[in-house]
């Protein structure tokens, strides 16, 4: 069975607001860049197109029908997935591995700036019988419950979360996609007003408008179009009992994340802690505490050990095992279904940039992402060069 690789990627936006382009124009710009880099004509060379989107984010019902045109997929096999771009990546890997598809284009886009009533939109994801009548005051209340539970279980304090914020906001200063990067200190975070206990506004990633298109190819097709394929060695995803059963969740952990990482490791034939086989990680951090939780679920370190490593600078961009050297979502923002794909894009580009500088056996990156509140869906990817 053929291996699958990311052979090219294009993006557009990653700004708090891209007011001058429609979402379709953003998709086109991202697609144009992805295809141009490797000289691919989507009208002839791409065998299938997959779009990851969700109607309520778009404000358009059956938004699937808007997918083909901007990415070159008119009158071609196109499918849509209600999920994160990483879930599209999983579909692309499966298509490629059937042997019937050589090159597959995947896409996700987000325009949070088009939404006037984000709470109202996110309410629509809550159970209509039980939760909606309670009308929680903001979409972050679930994260607040999770953060409180996480801190209570681990015994960690606010400063642990503030350290994550400071690391990521500063790391993003070198990243053109990190529009929300800033030289924030631990003191800045701790002294800021609480937004949702125990989180301040710094602990919560803002939103960004963004679009990403990636080309995924089987081994032969990948080598035909590029000298620098990045192999999708492993990929996994899982959903817990879902948002229909919030009361039954384990609030201080994220079992779906652990399952997704294990699935990816199994596919890649890897075992042990990620730092034993990967050189860096891009992990979930749309709420500060999620980075420490993601590192725990991925098997990098338990929260206490993770905090110690964080304090010691092990997760800094130039540390022993960089975590979110891109700045993560805290610096680049949350872009709905693009968010996990953003982490893959960062890992892909960093692997290409590091190239031969990577230690043998560590030419890999681990990606771990969550679909965001109120979902209990997580994804993981292991990329290698």
């Amino acid at each position: 069975m053929t291996r699958a690789a990311i052979v090219s990627a294009g993006w557009y936006g990653f700004k708090p607001e891209v007011g001058d382009l429609s979402f379709r124009e953003m998709m086109f710009e991202a697609a144009l860049r992805a295809y141009a880099k490797v000289g691919v004509d989507p009208r002839k060379d791409v065998d299938a197109f997959i779009s990851c989107q969700e109607d309520y984010w778009e404000g358009i019902a059956i938004t699937d029908e808007f997918a083909p045109e901007p990415v070159g997929g008119v009158l071609r096999p196109t499918l849509t997935v209600t999920g994160d771009l990483i879930q599209c990546l999983g579909q692309a890997v499966m298509l490629v591995r059937t042997g019937y598809f050589d090159l597959v284009s995947i896409e996700a886009h987000a325009k949070p700036s088009d939404i006037l009533t984000l709470k109202g939109v996110m309410d629509m994801a809550l159970d209509p019988i039980y939760l909606r009548p309670l009308s929680p005051p903001n979409p972050h209340f679930l994260a607040g419950i999770m953060a409180s539970s996480f801190l209570a279980r681990t015994g960690l304090g606010r400063e642990a979360l503030a350290l994550v914020v400071s690391k990521n906001k500063n790391a993003g200063l070198d990243n053109p996609r990190a529009s929300h990067a800033s030289p924030v200190t631990v003191g800045d975070v701790i002294s800021a007003d609480t937004v949702v206990d125990p989180l301040t506004r710094y602990d919560i990633a803002p939103f960004s408008d963004a679009a990403i298109v990636m080309l995924v190819g089987g081994e032969e097709a990948a080598r035909k179009v590029t000298d620098t394929p990045v192999w999708i060695e492993g990929i996994g995803w899982a959903t817990e009992s879902g948002t229909g059963s919030l009361a039954y969740h384990s609030w201080d952990s994220m079992p779906s994340m652990k399952m997704a990482v294990e699935m990816a490791k199994g596919m890649a034939g890897l075992s042990g802690r990620p730092q034993s086989f990967a050189s860096f990680a891009e992990v979930e951090d749309r709420y500060s505490f999620m980075e420490l939780l993601a590192l725990e679920e991925a098997g990098v370190a338990d929260p206490i050990e993770g905090f110690r490593m964080l304090e010691a600078g092990d997760f800094d961009p130039n540390g022993f095992f960089p975590v979110n050297p891109s700045g993560g979502s805290l610096a680049a923002g949350v872009s709905f279904e693009v968010t996990g794909g953003f982490r893959v894009l960062e890992a892909y580009e960093r692997l290409l940039a590091l190239g031969g500088d990577l230690e043998p056996g560590l030419e890999r990156a681990l990606v771990v992402s969550w679909r965001g509140p109120p979902t209990r869906t997580s994804m993981s990817v292991i990329l290698g060069v």
């Binding site: 382009l21 144009l32 008119v74 088009d114 006037l116 629509m124 209509p128």
Partner: protein, 180 residues
């Protein structure tokens, strides 16, 4: 539910329905402000000025109305802007007597696809590719539609007065026959 009774029997009122255990009401508060984007913003500005603008693909020559920033067939950015006269011919039309819920409309509505005359563009081999607009049709009768007499009929936009235009497709009230 309407209180007006037109059939025999006992009608359920809205509050009767809401009081039934097992029924939970939720009225979505979902509002958006859609970015029209570069191509359609130009189009909307044109409508406000009483002009119909299209854009040409420099590779295949197709003229897009409403305009697009890209040609979906060539996957290339579109190029020159084209101003159309607004005149065209009815490609297809339908008369509708009912609403979505199949209630009979007081006044039937006629909608049509109008193939616009675009300078320098004759449609490709496929007769369904053309610069065109989907809009209401006025000045014709139901029978004209039912009997197919409107097909191929020359029509032009009936513009709202300039002071009423807002930069929307509704700045055109409807398409009406061109009097010869």
């Amino acid at each position: 539910m309407s209180e007006e009774k037109s059939l025999p029997g006992t009608y359920l009122r809205e509050r009767d329905l809401q009081s039934l255990p097992g029924i939970v009401e939720h009225r979505p508060d979902v509002k958006y402000l859609y970015s029209a984007g570069q191509a359609q913003s130009m189009f909307l500005r044109g409508l406000k000025d009483g002009r119909i603008l299209g854009v040409r693909c420099m590779r295949c020559g197709r003229v897009y109305v409403p305009p697009r920033s890209y040609c979906e067939y060539c996957f290339a950015p579109t190029g020159d802007w084209v101003e159309l006269s607004g005149e065209g011919e009815v490609h297809t039309a339908v008369v509708s007597y009912i609403s979505t819920f199949r209630e009979r409309l007081e006044k039937p509505e006629i909608v049509a696809v109008v193939k616009l005359y675009a300078p320098g563009y004759t449609n490709k081999d496929d007769e369904y590719e053309f610069a065109g607009m989907f809009h209401k049709l006025c000045g014709v009768g139901e029978d004209d539609v039912i009997n197919g007499r409107v097909i191929g009929m020359r029509v032009k936009p009936r513009w709202r007065p300039p002071e009423e235009r807002i930069g929307s497709v509704t700045d055109i009230e409807c398409f009406e026959p061109v009097q010869s």
